[in-house]
């Protein structure tokens, strides 16, 4: 990677930032102009993410180190692009395009500054995926969170404000824990650069190591709150189901951001030396508890939104457990699962709103629990203009069935392939060939049971929605609302067809991740660009 293409690494941060700034100057009434700017920015982001992904899936490994301000590694902030971050960038861009197109039908006009906040959210998420510095990670986390507060409240209404209040309070407390963790690590290791930190940890004295591990633990809690590990997850189903449909769609990526950071830090910092495997027990059993809680929640949910919210927890729990096992073959299956479940949940959140449009608000919720969901409907937007989708119920039903198959992990879609890859590796028929321990058996049972629970729940809801809705009218669904859902589900289909090359990419990514020296050397050996004055060149 050289020349102009080197600067592409920072583009996923700059493009949404510039778009968000431009959007602020466009009057709120000029919706088409705002939508166009936002759409162009997001499509540009998709193109950049795709190019970066292609570069990363090529033969060259860690060449994507970008020195911000042209300062050498431990002193300046670095952006690092590797297989994992390129994958996450692409996933974010895909989900973002779908959510944005969906929102253009009517949701973007439900309040002010939707597009600016959407772009800032993308900036924060992309920045967090790219950065190689712990404090910079905090800053991007806060950018992402601040935008998400606004987006969660988008559309207003009592339910959203209530859920938003809890969401903000929980995340403000998490941000404080993040700061405590970061400052403890800085106080003991004397650096915030992740690569530099990883190189220093094995040589640390015992008394400092204890404090550093305490800091890493506190830091981990902040990410686990975002990822939704039990018992830090009670805010999640309420917040996600209260959010407007396109917002919930893009929020699906936020919990994966927590997973990403945990995966990155555990593989990088606690790979070898006396601190090896720090926190893996917590992740393993915490993941199990999350999976159990999520499964019970999926079975108990009456409203579709909460069902989707608990599905996020099921997916987080599975991923956390796998990070806890810390085994290469299982992890590459888990990466495929991460991609597949993010696409599914995002599509599902957007589909829910279309499906529920045909019914009375809360018609399928028992009157007893109605209070928990608040008085709905006061915040529903008016119907938008546009082309109505023909054959609505058939398409909605097909999409719903696909979501069900993907969530429960049944063939033929990518949910099955991902779970199969994970389970076969766990049982020892994969690359490792080690007979599983009791904990791993428990894990296998839990993953399968969670799939069964998702199947039962989706079947129950599906029958109630599509087969027994007596007085239900056929909802009016616009083409630009159903197409994003079909786009995301089509991607899972693509993932199924291309499963072989996808698994190869995941394998390579995990192999690179499990050798942290590659990352450390790449960052340390990144050379300063000679003869570039500050003020010239993009991003310098």
């Amino acid at each position: 990677m050289n020349g102009w293409s080197h600067h592409l690494i920072i583009a996923p941060i700059l493009i949404p930032l510039a778009a968000a700034a431009i959007l602020l100057f466009i009057d709120e009434r000029r919706r088409v102009a705002k939508a166009m700017v936002s759409l162009v920015s997001t499509l540009l982001l998709l193109a950049v993410a795709f190019i970066l992904f292609r570069i990363e899936s090529g033969p060259n490994g860690y060449e994507g180190v970008y020195l911000l301000g042209n300062w050498a590694a431990p002193f300046g902030i670095v952006l690092v692009l590797d297989g994992l971050s390129a994958l996450m960038l692409l996933l974010t861009a895909l989900v973002a395009v779908a959510a944005l197109v969906y929102s253009l039908a009517r949701w973007h006009a439900m309040g002010s500054h939707f597009h600016s906040m959407f772009q800032l959210l993308l900036m924060g998420v992309n920045g967090a995926f790219l950065t190689g510095d712990l404090f910079n990670l905090f800053v991007f986390f806060e950018v992402m969170l601040a935008a998400s507060y606004g987006l969660l409240l988008h559309g207003s209404g009592q339910l959203r404000v209530k859920a938003g209040l809890h969401y903000i309070a929980v995340n403000l407390a998490a941000a404080l824990l993040f700061l405590i963790g970061v400052s403890l690590i800085y106080g003991t290791a004397g650096t915030l650069n992740m690569a530099d930190l990883a190189a220093r940890i094995p040589e640390m004295e015992a008394d400092r190591r204890m404090l550093m591990e305490a800091g890493a633990g506190v830091l981990g809690i902040a990410f686990l709150i975002k990822a939704g590990m039990w018992p830090l997850c009670f805010w999640l189903p309420t917040a996600y189901s209260a959010a407007a449909a396109p917002v919930a769609g893009i929020f699906a990526i936020l919990s994966k951001l927590g997973i990403y950071v945990i995966l990155r830090l555990t593989t990088l910092l606690f790979d070898s030396g006396p601190s090896a495997g720090f926190g893996s027990t917590v992740l393993l059993y915490g993941g199990m508890a999350t999976l159990i809680f999520g499964t019970i929640g999926v079975l108990a949910s009456q409203a579709l939104g909460r069902l989707a919210g608990f599905s996020v927890l099921v997916s987080s729990g599975t991923l956390l457990m796998v990070i806890g096992i810390n085994d290469g073959a299982v992890s590459s299956g888990a990466l495929l699962y991460l991609v597949s479940s993010t696409l599914t949940i995002s599509a599902f959140f957007m589909l829910i709103e279309l499906v529920e449009r045909s019914q009375d608000a809360g018609a399928n919720v028992l009157a007893v629990t109605m209070e928990a969901y608040g008085d709905a409907d006061e915040d529903e937007p008016e119907e938008g203009d546009g082309v109505t989708m023909p054959g609505t119920m058939a398409i909605l039903g097909t999409c719903f069935a696909m979501c069900g198959l993907l969530l429960s992990g049944l063939p033929p879609l990518s949910g099955f392939i991902a779970k199969f890859a994970m389970l076969s590796a766990m049982m020892g028929t994969g690359a490792i060939g080690v007979p599983p321990t009791i904990a791993v058996w428990l894990l296998i049972v839990l993953v399968i049971l969670s799939g069964v629970a998702a199947l039962i729940s989706m079947t129950r809801v599906g029958i109630r929605t599509f087969w027994t809705s007596l007085e239900g009218t056929v909802p009016r669904v616009l083409v630009i609302e159903i197409v994003p859902v079909m786009f995301l589900l089509g991607l899972t289909l693509l993932l199924t067809v291309q499963a072989n090359s996808a698994m190869q990419y995941m394998d390579t990514t995990i192999r690179t991740l499990s050798n942290p020296n590659l990352y450390i050397d790449a960052v340390r050996n990144a050379t300063v660009v000679p003869g570039v004055d500050s003020g010239t060149g993009e991003g310098n």
């Binding site: 409240l153 009592q158 309070a169 400052s183």
Partner: protein, 112 residues
């Protein structure tokens, strides 16, 4: 000096934790503010508590005593971000008060 700083951080943290567990939104926001003050002091403290030393090595400060400038930079960022998010939380708090008619965090309790 270190003792005073530690006691201050401890007192503010314990008050903050107690307050954010209270049912009224106003108590929660004061609790969060106290916690963020405590955390800011804590960040400041990890660089080592020193008085009257330069933040960088200079000609006459070459005896090796210097204050670490990084935590000072970190704490500035943390203060700004914490202030902004607290202000945002305040707005949501007011919206919640307006919509539910009560300042209970769950929107429950008697309307006042």
């Amino acid at each position: 000096m270190e003792i005073i700083l530690s006691i201050a951080i401890g007192v503010m943290t314990s008050c903050g934790v107690w307050l954010i567990l209270r049912p009224r939104t106003y108590q929660v926001i004061i609790g969060l503010s106290l916690l963020s003050y405590a955390v800011n002091l804590f960040i400041f403290g990890v660089g080592g508590v020193k008085t009257n030393v330069p933040p960088i090595l200079s000609g006459n400060g070459a005896d090796g005593v210097l204050a670490d400038p990084v935590p000072q930079a970190l704490v500035l960022t943390a203060i700004v971000i914490g202030f902004a998010t607290t202000a945002l939380f305040l707005v949501v708090l007011l919206a919640s008060r307006g919509l539910t008619g009560t300042d209970h965090v769950d929107g429950r309790g008697e309307k006042r």
